[in-house]
Amino acid sequence: MNSRLPRAAQAPAPASLPPAGLPGLDPALSRLVPAAARTWHVLDNGPVLEREGIAPIGTVLCVHGNPTWSFLWRSFVSGATDQALRGGDAWRVIAVDQLDMGFSERTAVERDLTLRIGDLADLTDALELTGKVVTFGHDWGGVISLGWAVDHPDLLAGIMLLNTAVHQPESSKIPAPLRLALGRGVLGKATVSTPAFLETTLALGHPALALDVKEGYRAPYRGASRRGGIGAFVADIPASASHPSDPERRRVAEALLSVDVPALMLWGPRDPIFSDRYLDDLVSRLPRADVHRFEGAGHLVAEDVDFAAAALTWLGDRFGRGAQDPAPAEPDDVSSVSLLAALDARRSSDATAVVEMPRRGDVDAAPRVVSWRALGQRVDRLAKGLLGAGVARGDRVSLLVPPGVDLTIALYACLRIGAVVVVADAGLGVKGLTRAVRGAWPAHVIGALPGLSAARALGWPGQKISVTSLPAATRIALGVTHSLPELMSVGAADSRPLPAGPAADDPAAILFTSGSTGPAKGVVYSHGQLAAVCRTLAETYDVGPDTGLVAGFAPFALLGPALGARSVTPDMDVTSPKTLTATAVADAAAEIDATVVFLSPAALANVVATSDALDPWQQNALRTVETFLSAGAPVGLPLLEAAAELMPNASAHTPYGMTEGLLLTDVSLDEIRALPEVGGVCVGRPAAGVRIRIAPLADDGSSSDSFGETEGVTGEIVVSAAHVFDHYDRLWLTGRAARRGAEQHARAAENGQTTNRWHRTGDVGHLDADGRLWVEGRLPHVIVTAGGVVTPVEPEQRVEGVTRISRAAAVAAGPIGTQQVVVVAETAPGTERPALADAALAAEVRAAAGVPVAAVLVVPRLPTDVRHNSKIDRTRLSRWADSVLAGGDLVAP
């Protein structure tokens, strides 16, 4: 026995069954199993399935970590058993108590990693496991389960993991809490003599574990003599390369690289031990794994979320009766596209490619103008420099660089070498940005000074590369290892050719959703899909070679060089799009004789508001604009009209799209003028190559599995196009929900189409007789009344027709099925504090709404999203209305 542990922990003891009455633990599933002269306690539903005559698909072998026991898996064992007994997919689940742990035998033998992996093999030999085996491990049980997995390739069918790790990067220390526990003189006390380590672990629940659940975890570890295994486990952590267990750990980690079975990782990011960097390492070893990070969950992810349902769903998808091979891969038509093709074709051109306008007030500064020849050269140099700095193909590179020349060069250099750019925009706010960057876990960060400072202050991961050369002290303070000028000069001196570029289905970029409906989600695009975005933009707006483009809307702004278009970044504060002024747009347009202008709605509003400052010359520059686009969120007719006055010769467009599908439909101002102003927001017809379908709403407000294109039917908007995103980053369950019904649809209805990737947008709407799409709101904002389903946009539009109402939201109060419609509105003149509308206004609103309205409330300001400042947060308003109308305080929403 490890001499560092107290004597009390060195006495043998036989295995036993757990006491009755532990919450969620079915005593009928507990049994003792002898194996190689040791006795194990296991949870095993095998006997139950056999008694019922149910033949399982295979076996899931669950291995707990330290200091838990098979109790950790109770909901999964019970869930799998219930599913089998109900006639669903049947899985035998065996959850072991490792020797010296839980209710298994206390062996009085020092059990290191090698021995424990062997122990598990002894057990599975004794159980005579055959057929498909899927391993499922947590914490240090993860390594042991993976050890078993790599040693049993004939049995292994799949791998499932909760928070765990198999590799300790040389460069970083093991997590602080473990270092502390391993400290001289601390180990025995922390782990054995006292239950400190156990209690610390049980305090990691998010939310806190129920008291009876904590008691369940404590049950086998009462008294120092029961806790020897906990101490020995901690002592066996291979904290350095010299640790006796490190070679075995390394063997497993390396063998894993050649394992190719389906894998699932369910992860709680709030884990002080197994943080996201370990997830990133595991993903690099099992690159085809399905990964879901449960935002807000932690180390005890098995207690924090319904991991059992997630695991059973995954098993069903992969191995169950409903499992199908993915529909025949019909690759999107991306054969001839490369994001660098247009740039490559212009490498000998001295014409202008990219312009960055100087910051306001900087009177001496001239615009930064880069020709195609220079751009190509710099992209190549930086690409080589990045390779030299260790940026590998497939590495994630976070770009914390404001739009402009530097960002363009960095972006295309990354794309050139197959690095995946992570584009988190400042519109997410610091908290959202931190969450996004940590979730994506970039290996490298290229940043301007503010971005690097934030990265340092907030502990963002990755090698830091600065945009400009920094003084040594700053470089050291910020942990910066390279700068772009330095990397470019290294690249310039490197005469070797660049390696071949990435393939169409290699990942290219991760963008982030606005986070207006929960934490921002990472959205992964392949090179082919981004190229398809360009193609759709080009076809829909006739943007192409040598178009002059004012790039005031982030995702599209970056695509200028890929389109072969001449692009200019206007002077603006990127953290706040609403700071873009009319003069900045006009100056930018004049600089490159722009004919196309892309803006965000918030920017557009400020441009209109500041148009008085335009001088005649600037006004003239805007007269030559032929097309302008307000993208990102719906824009009201008055704003679009006002913008059209500034650009009198331009055709005004407002496309419908989202981070997951950047350009889905388009409608022009002229069309909007000719349409009724109620019935939803008309967003026009599908853009080039886009298919739009509707998944009808059921009586309970949910959307159907199947979708079609029947005119006038309201439902969830489902889209398909070559340029729809590939998948959500590490949000397997979310992505699965967003593709619900897609397989069946592709099989049943539309074989032979160019793509069968469908995306459920979460928006609701309908198609009209002319094939135009009308958006009626968000799916979670649908109001389910006793009289039927009400979508919010139409009543809002009707209510906004009331003279005193300037902006309105229709939200739900009460339980689904008998919800009441409540109108919350901004008024003109405004109100100082939230209140019930006066009787006259309430009567006018009710008369206008078109649906029964229970209450009309007026507020100074409706809450909106951070990024666009235009999408009303109806979920929050609904919660607020629920509270106020139940007699809660009349505070601001």
Binding site: A786, A813, G814, P815, G817, T818, Q819, Q820, A835, L836, A839, A842, P852, A854, A855, L857, D882, V884, L885, A886, G887, D889, L890
Partner: protein, 326 residues
């Protein structure tokens, strides 16, 4: 043609129910302490606590609608129990013994209300232990006794009309208007609590319909409302405007009102008592917490929808005040 005994018909709601049953072609006998004065109905007089009078009143009766109750916000608990629980038990026993086949017990949503907000709930079981006040407690007890007596031969339904109001209502409407006229009608917490009410005519059709559906729906309890919840301030204001008095604008924190002051005695009752209390905690809760209901089961099972909307109700109320002032 069915002979229906309506107890408590001297009250506004009881009288309206009797009239509605007559309109639907039933024969009606009323039973209360003094003559009901309802045209077309037979009158029997007496107390529900008097078994002999009850047996006499039930002679030849096939169905009962039981509204009579002691209604007040305070008073001797024994008196509440005697009339509301004892009287109901007497009536049930006599009715079953006398061969009555259908029995509608007119109850109150307060039987399942413990003081917190009711937000879109369906009728929950009556709970005398948690009900607030003697009236609600005894009505809850009596509802349980009534529903326990249900069997295929003696079909009992409980129906709980919520906040009945209309022209001629001296209780809810009369008191609101009197207070408002005297400038003593504050709003609690800005009057935002969402409250569902029941216009008088709808209450009458709902109860009559419950009797006609008793063969199918017996054994159950149903809440009856207009299905149009409104902020309480709007309801008070609607009533005041109909009566031509100035609506309340002054808001008082509900917490204050719960402990002090007096306000309208509205709600869960149909007749005034002699011993009206000042503002009770119960009433303050009623006016500062929401109570509105899920009406889907009620409307489906009873095959009933309220014919008079809230706005139409206010218009009729205004017309009645206008007629009265001419």
């Amino acid at each position: 043609m069915t002979l229906v005994l309506v107890t408590g018909a001297s009250g506004l709601l009881g009288g309206s129910v009797a009239a509605e049953l007559l309109r639907r072609g039933h024969e009606v006998r009323t039973f209360q302490r003094r003559p009901s004065g309802i045209e077309g109905a037979q009158d029997a007089t007496g107390s529900v606590t008097d078994p002999a009078a009850v047996v006499q009143a039930l002679d030849g009766v096939e169905a009962v609608v039981h509204l009579a109750a002691r209604v007040s916000l305070a008073g001797d608990p024994a008196e509440f129990a005697a009339v509301n629980v004892g009287g109901t038990a007497v009536l049930l026993d006599a009715a079953r013994a006398g061969g009555v086949s259908r029995f509608v017990y007119v109850s109150s949503p307060s039987v399942a209300h413990s003081g917190t907000s009711i937000v879109g709930d369906d009728a929950r079981p009556a709970d005398p232990r948690r009900a607030r006040g003697e009236y609600a407690r005894t009505k809850a007890e009596a509802e349980r006794v009534a529903l326990a007596a249900d069997d295929p031969a003696f079909r009992v339904v409980a129906v709980r009309p919520h906040l009945v109001w209309g022209p001629g209502d001296t209780q809810l409407v009369g008191r609101i208007v009197d207070r408002a006229r005297a400038g003593r009608l504050p709003l609690l917490d800005h009057g935002t609590a969402l409250i569902d009410t029941l216009y008088l005519d709808n209450a009458a059709t709902g109860i009559a319909q419950t009797l006609e559906r008793a063969d199918v729906v017996h054994g159950n309890a149903y809440v009856l409302t207009n299905g149009e919840p409104r902020p309480v301030a709007e309801l008070l204001s609607g009533i005041c405007l109909a009566a031509g008095v100035r609506p309340p604008t002054r808001s008082v924190p509900a917490g204050l009102a719960r402990t002090a002051g007096s306000l309208i005695e509205l709600g869960w009752r149909f007749r005034p008592g002699a011993d009206e209390p000042p503002m009770t905690r119960f009433l303050a809760e009623q006016l500062s917490t929401s109570h509105w209901f899920d009406q889907r089961r009620t409307r489906r099972d009873l095959e009933w929808t309220p014919a008079v909307t809230l706005d139409e109700g206010f218009a009729r109320l205004a017309a009645s005040y206008a007629a009265a002032s001419r």
